[in-house]
Symmetry: C2
Subunit: 406 residues, 2 copies
């Protein structure tokens, strides 16, 4: 297959590119490298020393004889260029990772909110319009997030995309109706993914586009079989307060003797998936496209859920790290359940890498190995969801202590 990977220079994109190339597909990376620019903006860098995309592609070719094609395109801003690219290359499948993906970054300031909405909505919509306009019949696989749903508010499991509801008609009869499972996004970033859903629903219905939307949990881990083949193929690893996801940040905190920063009671439950499984799920999704005219195919792409305080305990037991309960910069309920169905990927043969097996490797192979590259001052999550909360976070005595320790 000829596959276009939009956002193929990113944390999930790069290992996906290598995995698909390894399977023998012709892989094209489209990326505007905005994520690298954001590193510059924030003055942070990947924990792992990461090469340029051009260099990475060169190394992969030397190692395997397989070419990766890199195209610098901003899919949110350069609609015409994207359309021309699709018309010229006619990929069989398109994997769309190309969005601003950090909730804290999306809440940093009004400028960051505006950027995130503008970038993500236009990226997805430009792609859909260009697919229709060029008439290519590609299967689109998009990365969404479990976070669009908020939480299991009534103790029910979150199904894979759709909900059957009953509506009473004028004659007083109850009629069944299938609807998109209602979303309640908790940040501007998550909100954009909720809007993406509406875009997909429309373009599948109006234009018969074949779309798979993967509602992914938080990805943890760094290496995949392919990224480990050469030092310079290493995947990025974000540990900073904006882009570092919770588990990766705990690992780094443990490695540099910084207390594990648990927000509030740590009662929020989140869904997780290892990077190896994430890449595998994308392969499985590519292999089972919906038919034209089908509704959007939605999977929950996660393998386990954990409460934050339990994760902190796990890592603390493993490493001896202290735990600090600090003010939560996010606006969310202090305790939340999250129960998720993931039957579809299990049925397709996914064999999850569990935290229990994979975690120690990460501590030794990644966190400890690169701990000398950590900037301690960037470890705390400080982007607050509202100005009131920002105030609370600023004046939190425990948080202050962490700042001065660091």
């Amino acid at each position: 297959m000829k596959i276009a990977v939009l956002g193929g220079d990113g944390f999930v994109g790069w290992p996906t590119v290598l995995h698909l190339s390894d399977l023998g597909h012709e892989v094209h990376i489209i990326d505007n490298l905005s994520r690298r620019w954001i590193d510059t903006e924030l003055g942070v860098q990947s924990l792992t020393p990461m090469d340029s995309i051009q260099e990475r592609c060169r190394i992969w070719y030397e190692l395997t004889g397989r070419r990766l094609h890199f195209h610098l395109i901003d899919i949110a801003r350069d609609y015409q260029i994207l359309r021309q690219w699709l018309a010229d290359h006619k990929p069989d499948s398109i994997i769309h990772f190309a969005e601003q993906r950090a909730a804290p970054y999306s809440m940093k300031s009004d400028r960051h909110k505006v950027y995130t909405v503008n970038n993500n909505v236009n990226a997805t919509h430009n792609l859909l319009t260009a697919m229709v306009e060029t008439g290519i019949d590609a299967h689109l696989v998009h990365l969404g997030t479990m976070g669009v749903y908020g939480y299991s508010s009534v103790g029910a499991a979150i199904p894979e995309g759709y909900l059957d509801v009953e509506i009473e008609n004028l004659e007083g009869e109850k009629k069944g109706l299938e609807v998109l499972y209602p979303t309640k996004p908790g940040s501007v970033y998550h909100m954009t993914k909720s809007m993406d859903q509406i875009l997909f629903q429309f373009y599948a219905q109006n234009d018969g586009l074949r779309i798979t939307d993967l509602h992914q949990g938080i990805v943890w881990g760094t290496h995949t079989e392919q990224t480990q083949r050469h030092e310079q193929l290493i995947n990025r690893f974000d540990y900073d307060g904006d882009y570092g996801t919770v588990l990766n940040r705990f690992l780094i905190q443990a490695a540099i003797d910084y207390p594990l920063t648990v927000h509030g009671t740590g009662g929020q439950t989140r869904a997780f998936i290892h990077i190896k499984d994430s890449v595998k799920c994308i392969e499985l999704a590519l292999d089972t496209p919906p038919a034209a005219g089908d509704r959007v195919k939605i999977y929950n792409q996660m393998t386990e859920t954990h409460r934050i305080r339990d994760l902190a305990k796990l890592i603390s037991d493993m490493t001896g790290a202290k735990i600090a309960n600090i003010a939560n910069p996010r606006k969310e309920a202090p305790e939340n359940d999250l129960i998720v169905k993931n039957d579809q990927f299990l049925a397709l043969g996914l064999e999850p890498t569990t935290l229990a097996e994979g975690l120690l490797d990460e501590v030794v192979e990644v966190a400890k190995k690169y701990a000398h590259r950590v900037d301690r001052s960037r470890v705390r999550a400080l982007s607050a969801w509202t100005k009131d909360i920002a105030n609370r976070v600023e004046t939190d005595p425990e948080g202050k202590r962490l700042k001065s320790v660091s």
Copy 2:
């Protein structure tokens, strides 16, 4: 009250501006005049001879001694200017009309799709972000559309915004949950309003913004009490295939001896409201804002529903016009029910202007009076929802005949 009317130069905006000014409010119009530019792009013009916004404001001042303040701002592109304006003027209420509002225009080409999404989503989101950032505690009233819902697919009435559903939890108990009534938008334009809903939900929940969303039916009619006070205060009236809404187009067709163009069997049902009632509803909504922390208040702003073929019959009976059933450029079911609740506005005292009373006035006072200004070649709706449909519309023998007649 100090009221900012975003999109105050438009078809619904202008009469709203005059109505609110007449009630004694301090009214500020913010508009980028894009609608006038689109007239230029399409080579069409308002049926009614419409003055510049500056001239209109001057006439109103001469007539009433009340000042209208006009500010040329593109709220989708100029976030910083919008924010500064809000910080400087601190309006008590904001009415948001400023979006690209024609479904056919939004489906014209890929460029028009991209423009509509970009303009509408960024307009609404910039406004919300700027309201949060400046900390002004204004009540936001937004114009949405009934069209986000598609149709009453199970013969049930469409409630005002919310639906109670039952979800089975892990213990097998059914639990109630209130959700946004699920949307199924039928065009790129309607899709943007469906996305607006998600923006509102988030900003009401995260930032306590007070938001009212009016899901409006198709507006018909031209004059209000205020626009009739002077020739140069006249409202715009769109009759072209892109911006002309169905009833206004039938009126013009009748006035110029052009057959009433009914798409397919004309079995689609649509919701309607007279411009006078639209303006009144906005006043009522302004008077009853939600409290901070409340969910978004959603009204269905319409007063009657009709099947297109029944409307055509009504106008044909009244004027003697012929009816032509032609290929439908839209992608929709040939026959559709639409049953809508509008209890909230009725409870607030709205007294609807019915089609039965208002229609003849429109024929005489508007359609016949300005018929000489009509460009017959622009009367048909030609923007097709897909390329296949465009083909069908092009080759429709009845449609061809209309083209040569015109």
